[in-house]
């Protein structure tokens, strides 16, 4: 009787025989040959043991180390994320505050100085039209958003407004920019 070769035994144990005919022939032989049946059992045991071998565990901070080496910042704190989302608005407010502070420092009566006069005229112009703007916004709010009247209402409005900007920035503007990049 010709026994199965070691290669055939290995392939059969691993379910890797070339075709169904070869598998059927090997099965038939294994039913009648105790020696090959015993040998294939050994290969099956080896196959099972190899497939159930545990993996080596990498260190827990591997991903952090890799990101650090790549210079990638990991997930930021909510405070930092909030700051980053409000950064453009905060910068704009800071510029406006500085401009307002400089204009507000101009002395009320300094007609002799040309530059001071020019700034004062600009300030008066801005003041006049911003007053008109503020009035119309005030009227509009009074008509449609009456609940925002008063100090508490204004705070609520600002929170809602800034929150809306933050959400718009995070979920619409920035993803669009990233997609373009």
């Amino acid at each position: 009787m010709n026994h199965l070769s070691q290669e055939e035994l290995q392939d059969h144990a691993g379910g890797d025989l070339p075709d169904e005919r070869a598998a059927a022939a090997a099965d038939l032989h294994l039913r009648t040959c105790a020696e090959c049946a015993r040998r294939i059992d050994h290969f099956r045991a080896l196959e099972r043991a190899l497939r159930s071998m545990p993996l080596e565990r990498a260190s827990e901070d591997l991903s952090r180390t890799v990101l650090k080496r790549l210079g990638i910042r990991e997930g930021q704190s909510w405070l930092f994320t909030l700051f980053m989302n409000f950064a453009p608005l905060l910068a704009l407010l800071a510029v406006l505050a500085v401009v307002h502070f400089i204009l507000g420092r101009q002395p009320a009566g300094a007609p002799g100085q040309n530059s001071g006069e020019g700034v004062r005229t600009l300030f008066q112009f801005a003041d006049k039209y911003s007053a008109v703007g503020i009035q119309s916004v005030n009227d509009w709010v009074g008509k449609y958003l009456a609940f925002m009247k008063g100090r508490g209402g204004l705070t609520g409005f600002l929170i809602l407004f800034l929150g809306a900007i933050a959400l718009l920035d995070k979920y619409i503007v920035m993803p669009l920019i990233r997609r373009r990049l």
Partner: protein, 190 residues
């Protein structure tokens, strides 16, 4: 529902760079296993895996998605380890560990084990694999632990299909021989 590798890669390409950590966490143990099998030194394997992930990130734009991400990554891990083995060989008077054709027996056969250890088949196989020539241990790792097909192993190692199959066959035959030596009925350790 967990994101697929392709989804994560798309997010990284769209600018969400920290998402690369998800891929590292998903493949770090598999990569570590391959590196340990090849380098046989945990510290060096850890460094090699780090290097491989850094390289993979930098080459991510070139990943076309025609193969599985895992296969592509293991190829990088494999090459990084191979480079380290070559350097190691150059340092130790030209001995190339990976292609070392010295067989199991020439290295002293199965590792010496106490009875309790011998009773643990998995542990025995693990230590036996550690004594196999590196190329055989690598083949076994790629096939059984990284769960790659013969064709995928060819693309990782750049070896022809016949060589891959032959090396796997020899690796299993060597292990089987050691198993029979250790666990045959007349052996009192079973």
């Amino acid at each position: 529902m967990s994101l697929s590798d392709a989804d994560i890669i798309a997010q990284i390409r769209a600018g969400a760079k920290p998402r690369f950590a998800l891929l590292v966490e998903r493949y770090q143990d598999q990569s570590m296993t391959l590196a340990v099998r090849m380098l046989r030194n945990r510290e060096e394997a850890e460094e090699a895996v780090q290097d491989a992930f850094v390289r993979a990130y930098k080459a991510l734009e070139r990943f076309e998605g025609t193969a599985r991400f895992g296969t592509w990554l293991y190829r990088i891990v494999y090459n990084v380890c191979l480079t380290r083995l070559t350097r190691r060989a150059a340092r130790s008077a030209g001995r190339v560990d990976y292609d070392d054709e010295q067989g199991y027996e020439e290295q002293g056969g199965a590792p010496v084990m106490d009875h309790a250890e011998a009773a643990d088949l998995a542990r025995f196989i693990r230590s036996s694999i550690a004594s196999l020539p590196v190329k055989y241990a690598t083949m076994l790792s790629l096939f059984y632990l990284q769960d790659l097909s013969h064709e995928e192993i060819c693309s990782v190692t750049d070896l022809p299909l016949g060589t891959v199959k032959t090396q796997l066959f020899r690796a299993r035959a060597l292990l089987q021989k050691e198993l029979l030596k250790e666990f045959r009925p007349e052996n009192t350790t079973v």
